[in-house]
């Protein structure tokens, strides 16, 4: 009986193997035929027959379309069809919050991918090694417009270099505004005035201000005033504190020996941690920060309990407008990353402007179409067609929506807002708006409205505060020096080390571990794979200096 059962099971497992045999084979999808152009092909030449590109559409519940329109048929895609004769198939929809996981699963299960899709660095490495995406190098050279090449070359070709594996360009960088990842400090000005305090000019003064806010319960709320906002990812707050002490966590930096070392393991970090630990112990940081999402801070700000928070310029929209709405007497200022001591200086850490790339599947017959679309998007957003775009954006029909969410591809020239800000400030001073494009006029009208509305006040803070700071400082930003590939093994080690780092740092800040434990952490970091990472990173650095 037992033998027979065993025999049965063996048969069953054999059948299972056979059935699963098709698991990796890949489906025999035919490649569609190539669409042609008439005459010489170039950056903006339309196709003779409509080329339909399939996309992995990232669905966001917040996007609103006019009646009858949708992701693949709206004012932006129609314009693209008109100019390039490219149509879009977005039947594969993935929820925004679930995009990376769904794409991982699709890649790993060898599902036929759409023609063009957004990927992160790890996914790009996997796809490249599986030979599923095009080397875009030559196509980029041939089809990218001069404008596009200029935009994507920002910060020493950061986006391009990061997408280059063994000399091949596997993804087109979807750049973001340089300010998106640069922290600055937002402070309740009316609270400073109430307590008769100066705007802080050093980190120590900032801490004193926070102390005063808490000790004197300047908000008058029954459950007290909070000191400095920080959430469980440590985030931008940690950047600012670490930078003041000369530390740069989470990035690779060149040391005195010319080799790259991981910033979080360098001795300056210890001082930053000690500082945060003290802030935590003295109650200036919420005792439960380690269990809180960043969005919790936005609530505290809106409720008028938190008067100091740290983040990039766009935190303004999420945090402060709500506070203005709830409390018309509230007033905010923004200051640059602060040095430790009077007369000191600080170089601000900036996160890379590219963290997602556009990849083209090998199954796509017209890979150059992706480059052409990016050319066109630039012209719509900032170039030749921008007047059409921004006039439409400000028309009654589209006033309340963000038209860029309609576009199948989006990237922001990293310095666009900084340049616009310079022009805006000039125009505000001189009253001469001839230099401003349609987008500039839009911002200009918000700024000059001066009706004390939350949106007006928030605009003033952004353009007269945040971008003025960015314009003054973007030359001296500190970026991650490693731009090499992140394959699955690299990312495996990194995942473990990242967790080790966050947990250790939070434990030190919360006083669960001593500050001197940092040295143990560094040893652990190296022994748990850090040595291997350091070697790989430096090997790349040697070859790509």
């Amino acid at each position: 009986m037992k033998k027979k059962t065993l025999l049965w099971l063996l048969t069953v497992s054999m059948t299972a193997t056979l059935l699963a045999g098709c698991g990796g084979g890949g489906s025999s999808d035919e490649t569609a035929s190539k669409a042609a152009v008439s005459g010489e092909d170039g950056p903006a030449v339309p196709y003779t027959d409509t080329l339909t590109l399939s996309l992995l559409y990232e669905n966001d519940a917040g996007i609103v379309y006019p009646e009858g329109d949708g992701p693949s048929d709206n004012v932006v895609t129609r314009f693209m069809k008109d100019k390039l004769n490219i149509a879009f198939d977005m039947s594969w929809t993935v929820d925004k919050g679930n995009y990376a996981e769904q794409l991982d699963l699709a890649i790993a299960s060898n599902t036929r991918l759409p023609d063009v899709f957004k990927v992160n660095k790890r996914q790009m490495s996997t796809l490249a090694s599986a030979d599923l995406i095009y080397d875009m190098g030559e196509l980029f050279e041939k089809y990218a417009s001069d404008n596009l090449k200029k935009v994507l070359a920002f910060n020493d070709n950061e986006g391009i270099k990061s997408a280059t594996i063994d000399g091949k360009l596997y993804g087109l960088p979807l750049t973001n505004d340089v300010g998106d990842g640069v922290s600055m400090i937002f402070i309740r000005k009316d609270w400073l005035d109430t307590l008769g305090l100066q705007v802080p000019s050093t980190l120590h003064e900032l801490i004193d201000v926070a102390k005063a806010f808490v000790d004197q319960n300047v908000s008058g709320k029954p459950n007290g005033t909070m000191g400095i906002g920080m959430a469980k990812d440590l985030g931008f707050t940690w950047d600012v504190i670490a930078n003041a002490y000369g530390g740069y966590p989470d990035l690779w930096r060149e040391g005195a020996d010319g080799r790259l070392a991981y910033g979080s393991t360098l001795p300056e970090i210890k001082d930053g941690l000690a500082c945060l630990r003290e802030l935590y112990a003295s109650g200036l940081i919420n005792s439960e920060f380690a269990a809180q999402e960043t969005s919790k801070l936005a609530q505290y700000v809106a409720q008028g309990r938190l008067g100091i928070f740290i983040g990039p310029f766009w935190y303004n929209n999420n945090y402060i407008i709500n506070n203005f709405n709830a409390d018309p007497d509230a007033d905010w200022i923004v200051v640059n990353n602060l040095p430790l001591e009077q007369g000191g200086s600080v170089a601000t850490r900036a996160w890379n402007t590219t963290y997602r790339w556009w990849c083209v599947s090998k199954k796509c017959p017209n890979p150059e179409a992706a480059v052409k679309l990016m050319n066109l998007w630039y012209e719509m957003w900032q170039g030749e067609y921008s007047d059409w775009y921004w006039d439409l954006q400000m028309s009654d029909e589209y006033e309340d929506v963000d038209m860029k969410t309609y576009s199948p591809v989006f990237f922001d020239p990293p310095l666009k807002n900084c340049e616009l800000d310079r022009k805006l400030l000039d125009a505000l001073e001189s009253g001469d708006t001839s230099n401003l494009n349609a987008e500039g006029m839009n911002a200009y009208s918000h700024l000059t409205l001066d009706d004390g509305s939350p949106i007006n006040r928030s605009s003033i803070l952004t353009w007269k505060g945040s971008f003025r700071i960015l314009n003054d400082t973007y030359d001296s930003f500190v970026y991650d020096a490693y731009r090499g590939p992140t394959d699955i093994q690299f990312s495996a080690i990194q995942s473990v080390l990242d967790e080790l780092e966050t947990n250790t740092f939070i434990d030190i800040i919360m006083g669960k571990k001593d500050v001197s434990y940092f040295d143990t952490f560094v040893e652990e970091w190296y022994s748990q794979g850090g040595t291997e990472l350091t070697e790989r990173v430096n090997e790349w650095y040697e070859n790509n200096r």
Binding site: M1, K4, T5, W8, L9, V12, A20, C22, G23, N59, A61, G62, W92, T93, V94, D95, G97, N98, E101, Q102, L105, A108, S109, N110, T111, K221, P222, N223, E293, S295, K296, A298, Q299, A302, Q303, N317, N318, I321, N322, N325, A326, D400, P454, I455
Partner: protein
């Protein structure tokens, strides 16, 4: 039946139980109170067990969320399909293996075959690959078919079947009944309490499942309720647009969160008394047999 006296023990025992029940339920009362409270009171955490500044805004907003309402519909469909399929299959599977080895020799094979699936699984990715190849992605079948036979439920039912006296069945077989008839006329009626209990657990299991929805529904418009809650409750406090800003003032996201939760519990509350009545009856029936 002699009349029972109410002793001190009874009173103490009952009071402890009542206290336990009340403590267990209090969080839900608090939740309902917050959901019906005004923005300011709820945001500052000053609501106890009764609403402060009674307001229906949170519910109004939750009910006007189309995706939420759609996800409730998807969950309802899932519960209906999933429970029907699972119960039919569980009954069919539990019956043959409730006989012992002597009566039904192939039983050993079937049991081993089932138990192995309890012990080993290929993990997430192979299952995903299979379901994609089968074309189940973005369909309701991805949520109800792959796990259609919970071996745990089969074991519960087979143990119940096993306790039904052999003599009843043997008498029927002598009268010429075959297995299907036996199952229908003898086992199912006698196992009604167990079936009701399993049905209830099945309904709840499907209602509460969230992870497969996240995996197999690529689009948020297809999420079942719990997946929707998992994804959106955490992002509730992110401010999405200018319109939201105005609403923020009247509705705190705590109230909104609890309004969503209260609404998601209502179907359970509706089904609950019905099923627990069956359980209660079932237990009385169960006590008759020795």
């Amino acid at each position: 039946m002699k009349r029972k006296k109410i002793s001190v023990f009874q009173i103490v025992n009952a009071s402890i139980l009542i206290l336990m029940a009340v403590v267990g339920i209090l969080p839900f009362i608090h939740m309902v109170a917050v959901a019906f409270s005004g923005g300011a009171a709820s945001a500052s955490n000053s609501v106890g067990l009764l609403p402060v500044d009674f307001s229906l805004e949170a519910f109004r907003e939750a009910l006007s969320d189309d995706s939420f309402m759609r996800s409730v519909g998807i969950s309802a469909l899932r519960v209906f399909l999933g429970t029907t399929i699972t119960m039919v299959l569980t009954i069919l599977t539990a019956y043959p293996v409730c006989f012992d080895k002597k009566e039904f020799p192939a039983r050993t094979f079937y049991v081993v075959f089932m138990v192995i699936t309890m012990l080993f699984s290929g993990g997430l990715l192979p299952a995903y690959i299979l379901n994609t190849r089968l074309g189940l992605v973005n369909t309701i079948w991805a949520l109800v078919v792959p796990g259609a036979i919970p071996i745990f439920n089969v074991i519960v039912l087979l143990n119940f079947f096993r306790n039904i006296p052999k003599e009843v069945r043997e008498a029927a077989i002598i009268d010429g009944a075959d297995d299907f008839l036996c199952l229908r006329k003898i086992y199912l009626p006698l196992a009604k309490p167990a079936l009701m209990t399993l049905t209830m657990f099945c309904i709840i299991g499907h209602w509460n499942a969230w992870f497969d929805g996240l995996l197999y529904m690529r689009d948020n418009t297809l999420y079942p309720l719990q997946t929707y809650l998992q994804v959106y409750l955490s992002s509730l406090s992110d401010i999405k647009s200018q319109q939201d800003v105005v609403q923020m003032l009247s509705v705190s996201d705590r109230s909104l969160m609890y309004a969503y939760i209260v609404l998601s519990c209502i179907p359970i509350l509706l089904v609950f008394p019905l099923l627990s009545k069956h359980i209660k009856n079932g237990l009385i029936i169960g006590s008759v047999k020795g």
